[in-house]
């Protein structure tokens, strides 16, 4: 049940209409105009990239890296094959925005990727789609067929001599493939095990060729930026945090769903849009950027605005924009146990600290939750975490440690109570 407020990607999309995803509906909303204007004007590649840079668009996949800057890293004059790759492997717990982009507005993504292909001089793109959303994968393939039939994809697009093709690649259940180099490995038909960097994908990416990877939402924002101008996009948010952003609100709210709102909107306003706390319960904690982001106490959250800078100042991350809301019936030990289990399940297994550490963390937390905690366990958790974070190939180990650190920091009393009394401080109920 997606709910969209005014924004960039979902502007004018009527999700109640079953055909809203179709090419005709997209074109009626002004779709593919950005592509047409670029191709017809033979806009210089660097101008397209400059426009994206000026928009202040930051990567929507989690790290918030400026998209235009990333595009400028691609060796544009490189003679061989190059690729653009979209990351729709949305697996970060709490995040469910990219699925809605595929469902309701896939052509915005397709157009964004064609523009990216044009700007970086690549002829082929791939969209890596999360394993569990097969219907969306099939729908995206249908959208690709429409675009191909209409001459937006393939050889000699719109008769301008520019060629670009785009294919969907379906994942099959591995969170780690959201990490961009694991995604590339997976796209190559291997296990999704992240690569050591350097070399970075811009020089050694898919099949060893220069590659740019962006999140679905990042690409899908591009047509708006080109059509309506960088300035308009930038102004939709706030400085250094350009544009609107999709927030996936889940947990104890009355109306979970996606909200596309200007960056900088107060959390309290977002909470209200989402119908407020479920059954009027009390807000206890919020994970503001997907499960890997540090949890923040409810009262801290209520003072923040939803943008990269504000959330980061408070000690967390905007991440993928997944806002997990928890009320006071949640036992924080139990919640952390579930997240620790997740990272233990999803570690790819190559780095020693992550392979061994995620299991260790989970087992200790599991023990605490089951009344077998020991007084030294909280220190142990933090020490094990310190031996993991920053010592692995990819950031999954860090992602596993952030929740442990933040839960035990902000809700230390609950953990201590658990260890001492061998039971929950709160009368735990999941929902």
């Amino acid at each position: 049940m997606a709910v969209f407020v005014k924004g960039v990607i979902f502007d004018g999309v009527d999700t109640t209409q079953p055909d809203c995803w179709r090419l005709a509906a997209y074109e009626a909303r002004g779709g593919y105009q950005a592509l047409r204007s670029i191709l017809q004007a033979q806009m210089p590649q660097e101008d397209v990239i400059a426009e994206v840079k000026n928009s202040g668009l930051r990567g929507r996949g989690g790290a918030g890296f400026p998209t235009g800057l990333k595009w400028s890293f691609m060796p544009r004059s490189f003679p061989g094959d190059k690729y653009v790759v979209c990351n729709t492997d949305e697996g970060e717990p709490g995040t469910f925005k990219d699925r809605d982009i595929l469902r309701y507005n896939p052509h915005a993504l397709i157009e964004g990727m064609i523009i990216a292909g044009y700007a970086m001089g690549t002829r082929v793109g791939y969209n890596y789609i999360h394993g569990e959303i097969f219907a969306e994968y099939e729908l995206f393939e249908a959208a690709l067929d429409e675009a191909r039939a209409a001459g937006y994809l393939g050889e000699n697009i719109l008769g301008t001599g520019f060629s670009f093709d785009l294919f969907a690649h379906h994942g099959y259940g591995a969170y780690i493939c959201g990490e961009e180099t694991a995604l590339l490995e997976s796209l190559e038909g291997k296990k999704g095990q992240p690569r050591f960097k350097p070399p970075f994908p811009a020089s050694f990416g898919l099949y060893g060729k220069p590659t740019t990877i962006n999140n679905t939402e990042s690409f899908a924002s591009v047509p708006f930026i080109i059509r309506d101008g960088a300035q308009k996009f930038l102004e939709a948010g706030k400085p250094n945090n350009g544009g609107t952003k999709l927030f996936s609100v889940s947990g104890h709210v009355n109306r979970p769903g996606n909200y596309e709102i200007p960056l900088g909107t107060p959390f309290s306003a977002l909470l209200e849009m989402a119908g407020g706390m479920k059954d009027g319960s009390r807000l206890k904690a919020v994970i503001p950027g997907g499960s890997s982001a540090p949890v923040l106490p409810g009262e801290v959250m209520m003072d923040l605005t939803m943008d990269y800078d504000s959330i980061s100042k408070a000690g967390s991350m905007l991440g993928s924009g997944a806002v997990i809301v928890m009320n006071d019936q949640v036992c924080m030990v139990k919640a952390l146990e579930r997240l620790a289990y997740f990272y233990h399940e999803e570690s790819c297994g190559q780095c020693t600290p992550c392979r061994e550490g995620t299991g260790w963390l989970y087992r200790v937390i599991h023990r605490i939750e089951n009344g077998q905690g020991r007084p030294e366990d909280l220190d142990l958790l933090n020490s094990v975490g310190n031996n993991m974070a920053g010592r692995t190939i990819c950031a999954l180990a860090d992602a596993a440690v952030f929740p442990v650190r933040s839960f035990t920091k902000h809700f230390r009393d609950e953990f201590e109570y658990h260890i001492e009394h061998r039971k929950c401080l709160v009368e735990h109920k999941w929902c």
């Binding site: 050591f196 233990h344 297994g349 020693t352 392979r355 061994e356 031996n387 920053g390």
Partner: protein, 789 residues
């Protein structure tokens, strides 16, 4: 060049170096598990974390490229902390039972845990248990709980072996190293994963639990099993060889060994070892003492020579013998008046003997060969003949070498082949002639005295020619199959012509560990030591085709080692006396020999092997001879004296070596593949019927590996089948697996037929050197297949 400072020491390293390479270059040790200089970088163990100034986090030294002005601390608090943290993680799920682990005492994890581990574990949870895996008869993977997931083994099979046979399945903590289920690891160089495994997860199956590393002495030696001359460390305990490991030598075997080099030693302790001299009386074998046996030999030789003349005696020596043994055996024979001496037992074409000007060899060093930009391999099963050379060529191809092949099968070389000609053996001379003709076309103004006018140049011949002509360095190599080929001399002549026109070096990958040494020692009918002139005698083929009355066999079982085993055995049986110096009492020898003198294999004697690249490598015995066995050079010395010959008063093997090689002279001056001009016949014999492609199976090549039980358990050692192209099978109206009778002349054997569509039509790939096929004839002669009973 980049400047870097490591723990305060300044040095410069080339662009592209990693921190660990830089550190190792100045002897600064950085702990590591997954890093290996010959494998791709995985950076997964995280043991090598070091502090790099200005980097906020510790970085893996193995994967971090050096940048100019970089300052690295390998021992700072940050680095030590990170390393200790990783060690703790490695140990939490690792069994801490070193005393009962087979790797105990030579375990990298154990060693590093001492320096980087904590005394008490903070991990109180249950430890992981991983079920063992079956990787076949050579590698034990019974204790996979010990695995630390460094993936060295996986990367080895993929990158060096050429085909990924080991994988890491599952994910995260559940990751397991395994071969594909139901399959064993079959690479011919698989045993290297045992050395690569830093813990006791992959261990040697034959060696397992037989000794502790600290009980073993390490002795250097040289492998006899192929022409490469791999350097060995032989580990011994109480007079027995317990294990063989590689001795690193970048110019030869790098840090690897083939499985044949590694596991053959199990054959040294075989039940079939001959421990005491034996004499056959009235068809019954009797053990005897040396004196009696040697007197018997002397009497036999004198008797035959008195009755039939010296020419009735033939000496067949194996090139797996040492230089000194081969030198002495020819010296003894010639001093006694016998000129029939040869070591080229599997050869069929000796037409080049007259034209030969020196000792045949690789034509270049191994390093030169693998750095050539274009290589043409003629008649070679590569991976089976010279497993490590094949692996090294595979690396060369990755670096841009074009590999071209002329063979009767498009065998899986696990590497990219630039151009390949697949034709039955009898068509090879014309095919190589095609390459020559194409070269002439590419090289303006070049000419040859050979008449190539009637030859058609195939597309592949043209591509091979272009590859050789365009490469800045090229090599043409004749493999073992080419050396056994009935047109060997013609092929060599053509290689010489093509080499002359293209600048390519040309030569042979010699079959045995001392093939080159055997030629240097003069174990040849028409050339003495270092090419001295001698009275010509019969070659190996002639000695068997027109049987002698007496044979002296040095270290050979003729039924396995000859071009035509049926003929060889018949000749032995017809002889009045067969004197065999052998380390084994094989069934064949027991049948046809009359006296068996137990001699020491290479591990029990000092000696010298000269490798395919002409490298002279001497070694000492690593254990004492078994039972009454004696080094062959001592046996020959005594025999010389007992026969009343002069010049056999040697005190040491060094004396013999010095005499043979004329101490101080440059051996390489004797190496030459050049043939004086010889005519070449390009006509292709009518191809009605089938030709046998009689290959030597990898694990039956020599007497020792034949008797290694673990090697004999491999898939490679399975009983031979008659392989034919599918179309041949159809023409014959047979089905895969059906029993067929293979007929060569008067001899025949029954065995299953199988399809191999990589074969040229017209050939039957049917191995020799195996008990089930010794009744057959020539390796590359006519053969007929008929439906069996």
């Amino acid at each position: 060049m980049l400047e870097i400072e490591i723990d305060g020491k300044k040095l410069t390293v080339p662009q592209g170096s990693t921190v660990i390479e830089a550190a190792h270059s100045i002897g600064t040790y950085i702990p590591h598990f997954c890093y290996h200089k010959k494998l791709s970088i995985a950076a997964n163990c995280r043991m090598c974390l070091v502090e790099v100034e200005k980097a906020p986090k510790p970085l893996p030294a193995c994967a971090t490229p050096v940048t100019d002005g970089m300052k690295v601390h390998t021992n700072s608090d940050m680095a030590r902390n990170a390393q200790k943290g990783v060690m703790e993680f490695l140990l939490i799920n690792h069994p801490l039972d070193c005393p009962i682990c087979d790797q105990g005492g030579e375990c990298q994890l154990q060693d590093l845990a001492v320096g980087y581990g904590n005394s008490a574990s903070r991990y109180q949870e249950e430890k992981r248990v991983v079920v063992g895996k079956d990787m076949g008869p050579l590698i034990s993977a019974a204790e996979m709980t010990r695995c630390i997931h460094c993936t060295r083994c996986v990367r080895f099979t993929e990158e060096i072996g050429g085909f990924q046979e080991i994988g890491m399945a599952n994910r995260g903590e559940f990751s397991e190293i395994l071969p594909f289920l139901g399959k064993t690891v079959n690479s011919e160089i698989s045993g290297n994963v045992i050395d690569l495994c830093p813990v006791g997860a992959l261990t040697s199956k034959p060696f397992r639990y037989s000794a502790r590393p600290w009980e073993l002495s390490r002795r250097k030696s040289v492998s006899p099993h192929d022409g490469l001359g791999s350097n060995l460390i032989v580990q011994v305990r109480t007079g027995q060889v317990m294990r063989v490991l590689p001795l690193e030598n970048e110019a030869i075997n790098e840090c690897w060994l083939s499985d044949r080099d590694r596991f053959s030693y199990e054959g040294l302790n075989s039940e079939e070892r001959l421990r005491v001299p034996m004499i056959k009386h009235g068809g019954v074998w009797h053990e005897t003492d040396w004196q009696t046996a040697l007197e018997y030999v002397v009497k036999g030789l004198n008797g035959v020579s008195a009755d039939h003349g010296k020419d009735a005696i033939g000496v067949l020596a194996s090139p797996y013998s040492t230089l000194e043994e081969l030198y002495l055996v020819q010296k003894l024979a010639r001093a006694f008046g016998v000129n029939n001496i040869d070591h080229r037992l599997r050869r069929s074409d000796f037409r080049g003997d007259e034209a030969q000007q020196g000792v045949q060899w690789l034509g270049s060093t191994i390093l030169e060969l693998v750095s050539a930009k274009s290589v043409l391999l003629v008649g070679s099963t590569q991976r089976k003949e010279q497993p490590l050379l094949a692996a090294r060529l595979r690396q060369a191809v990755k670096k841009g070498t074009e590999l071209n092949v002329l063979h009767y099968a498009a065998d899986e070389l696990l590497t990219r082949v630039n151009a390949g000609i697949v034709l039955p053996p009898q068509a090879w001379v014309a095919a190589l002639g095609g390459v020559l003709k194409a070269v002439l076309g590419l090289k303006e103004g070049s000419t040859t005295t050979l008449d190539v006018s009637a030859i058609d140049v195939s597309e592949d011949a043209a591509r091979i020619a272009a590859s050789l002509v365009n490469a800045e360095s090229a090599a043409i190599v004749l493999g073992n199959v080419a050396q056994h080929h009935p047109d060997f001399s013609q092929l060599l002549m053509l290689a010489q012509e093509i080499g002359r026109l293209t600048g390519a070096r040309f030569g042979l990958t010699t079959e045995a560990g001392n093939s080159v040494g055997a030629e240097l020692a003069g174990a040849l009918p028409k050339r003495g030591p270092l090419g001295t002139t001698v009275t010509a005698g019969l070659n190996a083929r002639e000695m068997l085709a027109s049987p002698r009355k007496a044979y002296v066999l040095l270290n050979t079982e003729v039924e396995f080692d000859s071009y035509d085993s049926q003929q060889a055995v018949a000749a032995m049986k017809a002889a009045e006396t067969v004197i065999a110096l052998s380390a084994y009492k094989g069934q064949g020898l027991l049948d046809y020999a009359d006296v068996l003198l137990p001699i020491a294999p290479f591990t029990e004697t000092a000696g010298t092997f000269v490798s395919m690249e002409g490298r002279v490598q001497s070694f000492n015995g690593v254990v004492r001879p078994l039972g009454e066995a004696r080094p062959a050079w001592k046996v020959l010395r005594v025999l010389g004296n007992m026969l009343g010959l002069s010049g056999f008063a040697y005190d040491s093997v060094e004396e013999i070596r010095g005499e043979c090689l004329k101490a101080g002279t440059d051996v390489s001056a004797n190496l030459s593949n050049t043939l004086s001009s010889m005519p070449v016949d390009f006509s292709v014999a009518a191809t009605a019927g089938l030709i046998r492609a009689g290959e030597v199976p990898m694990y039956h090549a020599d007497a020792i590996c034949r008797r290694s039980p673990p090697l004999q358990l491999t898939a490679e050692a399975a009983a031979p089948r008659a392989y034919v192209h599918g179309s041949v099978l159809q023409q014959l109206g047979l089905e895969e697996g059906a029993a067929v009778v293979a007929v060569q002349g008067d001899s025949q054997v029954t065995l299953p037929v199988a399809v191999d569509n990589r074969l040229a039509a017209g050939v039957v790939r049917l191995a020799c050197a195996h008990p089930t096929t010794v009744a057959l004839g020539g390796l590359f002669d006519r053969i007929e297949l008929k439906r069996g009973a």
